[in-house]
């Protein structure tokens, strides 16, 4: 399974990963539209990203969520009817939505954020 692995102990909370992600998928620099979410804290930052556990896949009523050959959960927007049930069942809060968006969005382990990270705090791994 291909998955994004966050390393909070290395993270410097520069938020470059969020910019890279939202720019790639939504063409804007907006952390609210990023599939990876960095929340600063007094210890290491919290790095929230999908672990491809597939809990959302079972909840989807239209089979818009499926698992590709790399073990990554993908959203088929042509099948998605925007009910957001997947957002509610995600155990890690990694299926995202934004007010007014038709469909939810999530990390597909594309790795664009790893290239933007100056601290090597995110890796693509195959488990």
């Amino acid at each position: 399974m291909k998955v994004l692995k966050p390393l909070p102990e290395k993270c410097i909370a520069c938020h470059a990963c969020e910019s890279a992600c939202s720019n790639l998928y939504f063409k804007e620099d907006n952390a609210a539209l990023s599939c990876i979410v960095i929340t600063e804290s007094i210890t290491y930052p919290d790095m929230n990203v999908c672990n491809q556990c597939q809990a959302c896949v079972a909840a989807c009523p239209t089979l818009a969520l499926s698992v590709n050959s790399n073990g990554v959960v993908m959203i088929n927007k042509s099948l998605c009817i925007g009910c957001l049930m997947c957002v509610a069942v995600c155990p890690t809060g990694s299926m995202h939505t934004s007010p007014g968006l038709q469909n939810p969005f999530k990390c597909i382990a594309c790795g664009v954020c790893t290239k933007s990270c100056p601290a090597d705090a995110i890796k693509i791994v195959v488990e």
Partner: protein, 710 residues
Amino acid sequence: MNRKLIAEFTYDLAPVKRGYNKRTLYINVGTKEIKAKPVSDMMIDKFVGGKGFDMYLMWHGVKDDTTWNSPENEICIAFGPLCGNTSYPGSGKSIVTTISPLTGIPVDCNVGGHFGPYTKFSGWDALELQGKADEEVIVFIDGDKGTVQIFSAPDEEINSHIFAEELIKEFADSPDKHQFVSVVSTGNAADHVNITCLNFSFWDKRRKVARLKQAGRGGTGTVFRDKKIKAMVVKYSGLKADTNNPVDLPTLQQTGLKLHKEIEAGDSTQCRMHEVGTAHLMEVMNDYDLLPIRNFKYGQAPEAIGLHSREFTALFTQGVADGCWYGCSLSCCKAVDNFKPRTGPYKGQSVCVDGPEYETAAGCGSNIGVFDPKDVVEINFYCDTYGVDTISFGTSTAFVMECYENGILDKQKTGGLELTWGNADTALELLHQMARGEGFGLTVGKGVRAMKAIFAQEYGADPDFLQDIGMEAKGLEYSQYMSKESLAQQGGYTLALKGPQHDEAWLIFMDMVNNHIPTFKDKAEALHYFPMFRTWFGLQGLCKLPWNDIEPANNTETDEPAKVPEHVANYVDIYKAITGKPMDKYELIRQSERVYNFQKVFCMRMGKGRRIDDVPPYRAVGPVTEEEYLSRSERYDKQLQDKLGVDPSGKSTAEKMQILRSYREDQYQQLIDAVYERKGWTPAGVPTLEHLHKIGMDLPEVLDVVKRYL
């Protein structure tokens, strides 16, 4: 299938605006007229949508003397402004109305499945079916192209589990698009008996079968077949998150997401809808002496352990998104996969069975003495596919079993059927007879009211006894809760406009268990508020279950936990977010009150709907037989002592029963007095002109009918 095109109507496709299309579809299968009718602002203001539109259209479609099988009787199916949104759980309901063959007055059914939302998004706020076809037909609405067509229907198989699937495959554009087609159908029994239903399908993509949800009550399937309609089919492929065109999608989404999360967090410890649907109630009802046993004689039985919800959990396929419309995370419509019936024409075949839900498990299980869950599943399967209402079937079968027990019926009269308690084989044979149109099944399929008359007239049975044990009011069979110990629920059942169904009010815990409504005034207020609140779901195209079958974690700390205030606020929010119209919790009740009183007057127009019709059988009020009294003698003796000041010692059971009966029947009448006053009706049960003016339901046609009775 080689079909002949009989009639065709083309219309312009246009997007829904803020929950409304502002037009309805009229189809006369007799004259073959198909047309669009505009929705006026008055209709929206006074009737809102859903059941309100159904009632308005039907009122103007029928005459005072219309009966269920008159050509002008209509089947109306409407959806409501909130129907079809994919954000808030329970938003895919259709409301079906017709003049019922069981009651002679309007019946309304709230049903899931995809037909309603797809028909709405095809361009229609309601659908009106009238006339009788001169040959078998199906009606096809193509919401992608903008056509309505009537086709000939030479199809041999009309039982729903097969027919719905065949039609979905026939009308879908390709095998990967079955989910865009939905079917309304019934089954063979609807050609022969009155206790029938309509099945509304949705294509289950995971199971790859047509699932069936029932517009169950009042014989809708019989009217459908009387019109020679075999099915209605709709196709719509464009569903998105904003197809209902809400004015404020973010608020709608956030309100829905809040409830999704509440369900995810709370369902497994509250009602377990995900796991077992409404069948979770089985042991709860049995524990509280509320589960109907042997024609509502008792509320509890040791054998009911056999129908414990864990038995159904084990039969239902787990971990599947079982919503009857998209976005319903409550996911209560469970199914038994790969079930193999042991009787009937589908014996040994592998089928998917929707349910059993609580009503079916109680009605076709404990109430007829059947305690094997697989027997219940088989009865459920055949009821659905033959188009039989499981509630009326259960209550009617329980009635004949008690008649058999009392010698009113015997094997000679039943054509050899042994109608003993718990005889699942006989119950199934009754169903097969209904489908084949033969035997004693035809008598049972007439319903309890008709059977009471037949057994009295033809078999010389005591009509008073039959009245006492025959669990029907207004001609409709009771649904499956014991109301003997809850005066408020006795009213909830008997005052329900269409007949004794629990969808207007379910007050047993409030009244009997928690004693939150001790006075007549309290009970009357509850019998005003809850029927009005629940009516609102039917106006909007919503399901009741996400209102109080999941509760916020802090609900018990609120002022009025029985109303679930946070969820009421959700409904206000999503109504405003979709329609853009003002709304608060008071206007919500006023919307319902207008339609509720309109339906009430509609019943009066058709010859029922007054106090003389709000009469419960005594079985719903107290113990009819000595065995019932003796089974709970401690309770009843205590009531005689505490409430009436009567010392039960030294009195015979018959004497005590009579005293208790007089007391309970008097209590019921006092309750009705209080409720009518609260509802703005005269002691005869007629809405006053002042009340109709006050609530804004003073249309001339309404006042004309009311004046006949004042």
